[in-house]
């Protein structure tokens, strides 16, 4: 099953409210990915986001679900700035995954 989250309807024009990010992550993203569903985050209508917001939204799925998140979490209508921030979070989370794994 595919679940699409219309971010623009939840966060308005600029995404900075981490409480909302956490709510989306805990109530929608994690349960859906854990069930094996695909999740599409649709950023239509969102002009920008803070790195903190994106981190609060997707770092936990990457850390806890790893390949499931890489395979089943997708992004739609993200402008270049938002793409850059999402890509950044992907990079540093993978770097730190390797690092924390090494320490375990």
């Amino acid at each position: 099953m595919k679940k699409t989250i219309k971010m623009g309807k939840i966060v308005n024009d600029f995404a900075e409210n981490k409480d909302i990010a956490k709510k989306i992550r805990v109530e929608i993203i994690m349960p859906a990915l854990s069930k094996g569903d695909e999740v599409v985050l649709d950023f239509y209508g969102v002009s920008g986001a803070t790195q903190s917001f994106i981190h609060a939204l997707i770092s936990d799925p990457i850390r806890k679900l790893k390949d499931v998140a890489f395979d089943n979490l997708m992004y739609q209508n993200a402008n270049n700035d938002i793409r850059e921030i999402i890509s950044m979070v992907y990079r540093y989370m993978q770097e730190s995954l390797d690092m924390n794994k090494d320490e375990e």
């Binding site: 308005n12 024009d13 600029f14 900075e16 409210n17 981490k18 409480d19 909302i20 956490k22 992550r25 002009s47 920008g48 803070t50 790195q51 903190s52 917001f53 981190h55 609060a56 770092s59 936990d60 850390r63 270049n80 700035d81 850059e84 921030i85 890509s87 950044m88 979070v89 990079r91 540093y92 989370m93 770097e95 730190s96 995954l97 390797d98 690092m99 924390n100 090494d102 320490e103």
Partner: protein, 334 residues
């Protein structure tokens, strides 16, 4: 500094707003503060001309809120330029009536007066409704929203300040620059970061907080599900790339990122280690219970935000890789 009060008594001034209130001179402002009694606040200004950066303004506002309106006053001769203090809302936080008379509609300027943000919902409303008062282009507005979004969130999440985040901003047409100040009277950076990192003093705490990937909520790389420790590094980097000042004042310490000289061609180089940036630092300013973060943003010097993000992201990754490498085992050569 002492001044003669209207009652005839000589009183100690706690905050003096000079005619040189910019980030370059912030250290002088901080040094002149008298923070010995947080329950009473006396503000005075230069008698001929007063220039106030939002940084100075939010410090004054935060201390006024902490002392309470009935314990805060503005005394002495305030020059005509002091009208700005009224427009920005400082008089409203004091028991001193404003001597300036003007119609509210004369306020057509590009500024964000002192605002208090206590919740994340307040923050979202502020970003949506108040930033447009600066009348910036969409591209520049994104950068300002980004800076305010990250800094206010830091206050709400880490400062435990009962009065919330105090924010003010100003657009300066002549220099095409936006200046932002955000202040709180919470626990300060040292206490916020001490649980996991144990910095030995306030300046070490500030510099640790500026390192990408260092957060007060964990020692784990990649941070927690809610914190990555990137916020302050991002803001400092934006200031550096746009060749501006960036100031943090918390406890007895102050760190100022110095302006990257215009004659040095090319984009300023970013560093994960704040010690490598041209900066001034001190650990001996009057102890401020809380945190101030202030930044200037020259709109002429601001590259595409995407380019900014990409550069900052590269340094962030590099910083994690370097920490990783520092933990590698080394061969035993005998």
């Amino acid at each position: 500094m002492t001044i003669r009060h209207p009652t005839g008594k000589t009183v100690n001034v706690k905050i003096f707003l000079s005619n040189q209130g910019n980030l370059r001179n912030f250290k002088s402002f901080a040094r002149s503060l008298d923070l010995s009694n947080p329950d009473k606040l006396v503000i005075s200004t230069h008698d001929k001309w007063v220039t106030v950066h939002p940084a100075n303004l939010v410090v004054a506002a935060a201390l006024a809120i902490q002392a309470g309106k009935k314990n805060t006053e503005i005394i002495g001769k305030v020059p005509e330029t002091g009208r700005y203090l009224d427009r920005m809302g400082l008089y409203e936080l004091t028991k001193t009536p404003s001597p300036f008379i003007y119609h509210k509609k004369e306020e057509a300027g590009r500024f964000v007066p002192i605002k208090i943000i206590k919740t994340s919902a307040d923050q979202s409303r502020f970003i949506t409704d108040v930033i447009p008062l600066l009348h910036l282009s969409e591209e520049n507005a994104i950068v300002v929203k980004y800076i305010i979004g990250e800094l206010v969130r830091n206050v709400l999440e880490h400062s435990f300040a009962k009065d919330g985040a105090i924010v003010a901003a100003q657009y300066y047409k002549k220099t095409n620059r936006v200046s932002i100040g955000i202040c709180d009277t919470g626990i300060g950076i040292w206490k916020s970061i001490n649980t996991y990192w144990h910095p030995k003093n306030d300046i070490d705490a500030i510099k640790l907080a500026l390192v990408p990937g260092i957060t007060g909520t964990t020692r784990r790389e990649g941070g927690t599900s809610e914190n990555a420790g990137a916020g302050l590094f991002f803001i400092k980097s934006i200031a550096k790339i746009t060749r501006n000042y960036f100031v943090i004042y918390s406890g007895s310490a102050q760190y100022t990122l110095l302006k990257h000289k215009k004659r040095i061609k090319g984009l300023p180089r970013l560093y994960a280690d704040p010690n490598r940036d041209p900066h001034s630092e001190t650990n001996t300013v009057p102890r401020f219970q809380g945190t101030l973060v202030a930044v200037d943003l020259s709109l002429d010097e601001t590259p595409e935000f995407n380019y900014l993000l990409s550069n900052i992201g590269d340094i962030y990754d590099k910083s994690i890789r370097e920490r990783k490498r520092a933990k590698y085992m080394t061969p035993k050569f005998i």
